[in-house]
Symmetry: C2
Subunit: 201 residues, 2 copies
Amino acid sequence: MARETTKGEETKAAILDRALALASLGGFEKLTIGTLAEALQMSKSGLFAHFGAKSELQLAVMRHGVDRFISHVIAPALKLPRGEPRLRALVDGWIRWDRDALPGGCPLQAAAAEYDDVEGPIRDYVVESQRDWFDTLTQVARAAIQAGALAADIDPRAFAFELSNILAGYRRHARLFREPDAESLTRSAFEALLARSRPRA
Amino acid sequence: MARETTKGEETKAAILDRALALASLGGFEKLTIGTLAEALQMSKSGLFAHFGAKSELQLAVMRHGVDRFISHVIAPALKLPRGEPRLRALVDGWIRWDRDALPGGCPLQAAAAEYDDVEGPIRDYVVESQRDWFDTLTQVARAAIQAGALAADIDPRAFAFELSNILAGYRRHARLFREPDAESLTRSAFEALLARSRPRA
C-alpha cells in the first residue's frame, strides 16, 4: 500500500517536472491537459486522474516550480551565515536557476507578466509566490544589517527592490537579448549595490 | 480618392488602438482576428482585409504600440536639454505610460516575457524594440556624461542597465503587487541612482 503510493507520487513528480519544463518555454496558459498528454504521450484520462481541471494542473505545476526554487535557491542560501555569504548565495543560485534549471528560465517570473491583469486563483498564487521571494530578499538584507555586513541606515525594502530589479535585468539581457555579457553586467551591478551598501569605515 | 484613404487609415488606427488595449490586458498570443472581431463587433472578413494573417495582426499592433511609446515617452524627452531634464522626462514618461496609457500597462514589456523563447518574426520584433529602448537609455546617459550632468567615469551601458531595471521594478510593484508606494519606491531608486552618478565635487 505504502509502495503503491510512492510509485504514484513518483509518476506525478515526473509529470510535474516535464510540465514545468513546457511551461518555462511556452507559458502556463498553453499548458492544458490536452497539450501535456500529447507531450508525454499519456492518455488525457490518466492526467485528469492526477489533476482534474486545467487550472488545477496549472496551479500544481506552479507549486512544483516554487518547491524546486526553494530547494535550489533559498534553502542552500539560508544555511550560510547571514550577511554577504547568504546574499551572494541567493544571487548565484538565482542566476543558475534562471540559466540552467529549466529550458525557458524561471517560469514564475514569466507568469508574473502573463497573469498580472488576469484575476483569479492563478494570479493570486503568482503574487503570493513573488511576494514571498521579495520578502525573503528583504529579510536577508535585514539580517545582513543586523550582522553589520550592510550599513545600519540601509532600508532593507529599498535594498530588496534594487536586488530583485538587478536579477530581473539578468533575464532580459540573457534570455531576451541573448547577450554574452548578461551575467557580468548583472554581477557588476550586484557588486556595486553591495559596495555602496556596506558600512562606511 | 485622398479622402477615402484618410478614412481607411482612421478606421485602421482606431482598430489598432482597441487591439493594443486588448493585448495590454491579455497578451499578444490571445489576439487573433477572431477575438478582435468579437471585441469590435466587426466581421472577420473586414479585419482580414486590413491585416491578413494572425501574425501580421500581432506585428501591426506591436508596431502601433511602439509608435505610441515613441510619441508619448521618447519624443518629448528628446526635446528637452540633455542631462537631468531629459533623464527625468524619460522616467516620468515611462511611469505615465505603464500606469495610464493602456489598461494593462506596457504591452511590449509583457510581450518580452511572452516571446523570449518563441523563435520567429514576433520575437525578432520584440527584441528589436526592447533593444531600441535600451539603446535610447544608453545614449541619453552618454549625452548626460558629455553635458557634465553625470560623472565622466560612469559606464553608460551599466547606467542604462540600472535604470531599465528600476523601471521594470515599477511594473512588478504597481501591476503585480498593486502596492500603493510602487511609484515612490521607483522614484527613490532613480534619485539614488542619479545622486551616486553625479560628478563628485
